[in-house]
Symmetry: C2
Subunit: 380 residues, 2 copies
């Protein structure tokens, strides 16, 4: 009965829903840029605070701007007492992503600026969310493990403070640098389902908290977040490098997916995987524990030998899991950390979309029964 | 730099993202069908419980099935004590939609089936959500007004119980019928932003609570929910029928939008508006208060005279606001009620999509700076 849109754009594959200046993925060449700067240079030379400023403002900050922006993030780190009290009552068996979503909703209720729509209030809410979602993540992680939350430290960088709040001790310079790189690599990646969910919500002119909450809800799904948890489990299951090839052969024969490979957009090596791999090498060297690195490399080699030429390459998840593991993070925080780091990407896309907002209202192709008469209950 | 998708499908207008058997909108003729049954017949002869069964199962229930399904909804009405306790602590100044979203997230934490993915568990979670979001809505409304929540009554229909929980007294048969019709008319409407947000979240194989929470977040935005609140405010501002034409003339001259008219999909009279108008007539007759009806009709006439032929017709919001007002509902519950009624539509679309799931991952057209070298902080 419907005419005019017979075709279903499944998964919206290759359908553009907005213009962006935020990130550019060259899937063929395996390149990723934030506002024109390559992810390799940003990971090496910049900081997460600087990348957040870049994504929110479209340019790198001056020293003065960066100091002001960083100070704002620091001042936003603490959670309202009522939110922490509420978190304490939550059942520890629930997924951490559900804690995080609940926490973001609770935060919105205590933010007097949450409903304001002027640019300045929105920017304040943006930094508040970037800062507080990281604190929420650490607090939820500890509470779910039966530990007391650690108050944020105003002395540390965003990444250093995150590790401090999670572990309760100050990180080494290498650990802080790697955590910072992890935040940078997860900050933004165009329009995955989570960012799309945030945009759809925001396109009704709803608030930033609702957009971020939708992003978290999407990231919670196993087809989006959680892949590095499962990639790490795979490496741990394999157990030693010499068993990798056999494992890969068996899984491929059984037509099961090997975790940590392939990406809807990249048809080449995921540049973030390459960066993480280098830091995994450094961290393995430092800790003296090279097992996971060697297994991951062996899996990569096995996949290249067996699947080479089929556009299947390692993605970020193969190497991020081992990195986080060596940083002392439990698997259950991997996806919540992703949410904390990506909050800036969700918000930056929403702010960009709001500059030329259009309500997102697609259609469905109706394939159900033709119009028919209602049948009273007695005659069914 | 991007090739292959130069065109941006703004707002996804006329882009189909799925097939559906759930509803069919004939925007030209002003017709709406749920699974083939016209909204007029469903409003007149069926009940919300029956419509929920229809949307979840694709067919009308037998008497036995309807009794079982209704009993399940009744048994799911109460909220966990911990959720009510948490609601009591929330700040009364926050929007009711934010309360509702927080409530849904809290509910997920106490539902042991929330993460289960078999069909039966999902159907249990579906009825639980349909039932409990209505209870949440009523409880949040009362708590925000400083009133004690009213325990659900197992004796009443879904709609009758909703009115009872909101107002604390049993509704008359006419009030119950009108509330039931309101639930039916708001149950499902293809793919507005809220349903789209729920689908995007669900396409990652996230859970039903996260999908419903995203729907609420989208509905919260003024471009989606809330239009009937503002339409009612408009009617109250106009104050009497003889001032309607002048008001419309002034607003049109100032190029401001008249609330309660026009719809992205309908190019004709919104069939739901016609139904609500009839019940507004009955309710006005019964209460003896015809002012809002007469003003709404006068605005409709003024719009037809001044805009006739331009495909601008009354939509559901023009008449639902006055109906809810005469039922004794405060404006702040209009959109939360919409969420409670639409929960079934969000879930039915998600369950339908999951039968042939594809991760929703659109693209953006990159229009930002070309690749450039990072500039160290000292040289900016």
């Amino acid at each position: 009965m419907n005419v005019g849109f017979e075709k279903v754009e499944k998964g919206l594959e290759n359908i553009a829903i907005k213009e962006t200046c935020l990130s550019n993925i060259d899937g063929e060449k395996g390149k990723l840029y934030y506002v024109g700067y390559s992810i390799e240079e940003l990971a090496e030379y910049s900081s997460y605070e600087e990348v957040c400023f870049l994504l929110l403002n479209g340019r790198l900050p001056t020293r003065n701007e960066l100091e002001k922006f960083s100070a704002m993030l620091v001042s936003d780190r603490s959670l309202p007492r009522q939110v922490v009290d509420a978190l304490r009552t939550l059942p520890r068996t629930a997924p951490l992503m559900s804690w995080l979503k609940t926490g973001v909703d609770l935060l919105s209720l205590y933010d007097q600026d949450a409903e304001k729509t002027d640019d300045e209030s929105r920017m304040r809410t943006a930094t508040r969310l970037i800062s507080k979602v990281a604190t929420l993540t650490a607090a939820a992680y500890r509470l779910a493990r039966g530990l007391e939350p650690v108050e944020p430290s105003p002395e540390l960088s965003h990444a250093g403070n995150f590790l401090y709040m999670v572990k309760g001790s100050s990180p080494s310079p290498l650990e802080e640098k790697i955590m910072d790189v992890a935040f940078i690599l997860h900050a933004e990646h165009e329009l995955p389902a989570s960012t799309t969910a945030a945009l759809v919500v925001a396109s009704t002119l709803s608030d930033l908290y609702s957009a971020v909450s939708a992003g978290i809800g999407a990231l919670k799904g196993p087809l989006h977040g959680g892949a590095n948890e499962r990639a790490l489990e795979m490496l741990q299951t394999i157990g030693s490098p010499d068993k990798a090839d056999e494992y890969v052969a068996n899984e491929l024969a059984a037509k099961r997916r090997i975790m940590g490979f392939g990406h809807r957009v990249y048809r080449s090596f995921d540049p973030r995987a390459r960066i993480f791999k280098r830091y995994l090498e450094q961290l393995s060297e430092r800790t003296g524990d090279k097992t996971l690195l060697q297994i991951a490399e062996a899996v990569e080699n096995a996949m290249m030998n067996r699947m080479g030429g089929r556009n299947i390459f390692p993605n970020i998840d193969l190497y991020s899991g081992p990195v986080f593991h060596l940083l002392g993070l439990g698997k259950e925080i991997f996806t919540p950390f992703f949410a904390a780091a990506r909050t800036v990407g969700w918000i930056a896309h929403v702010l960009e979309y709001w500059r030329d907002n259009r309500l997102i209202r697609p259609r469905a192709v109706y394939v159900g029964p033709e119009p028919r008469s209602y049948i009273p209950l007695d005659r069914r």
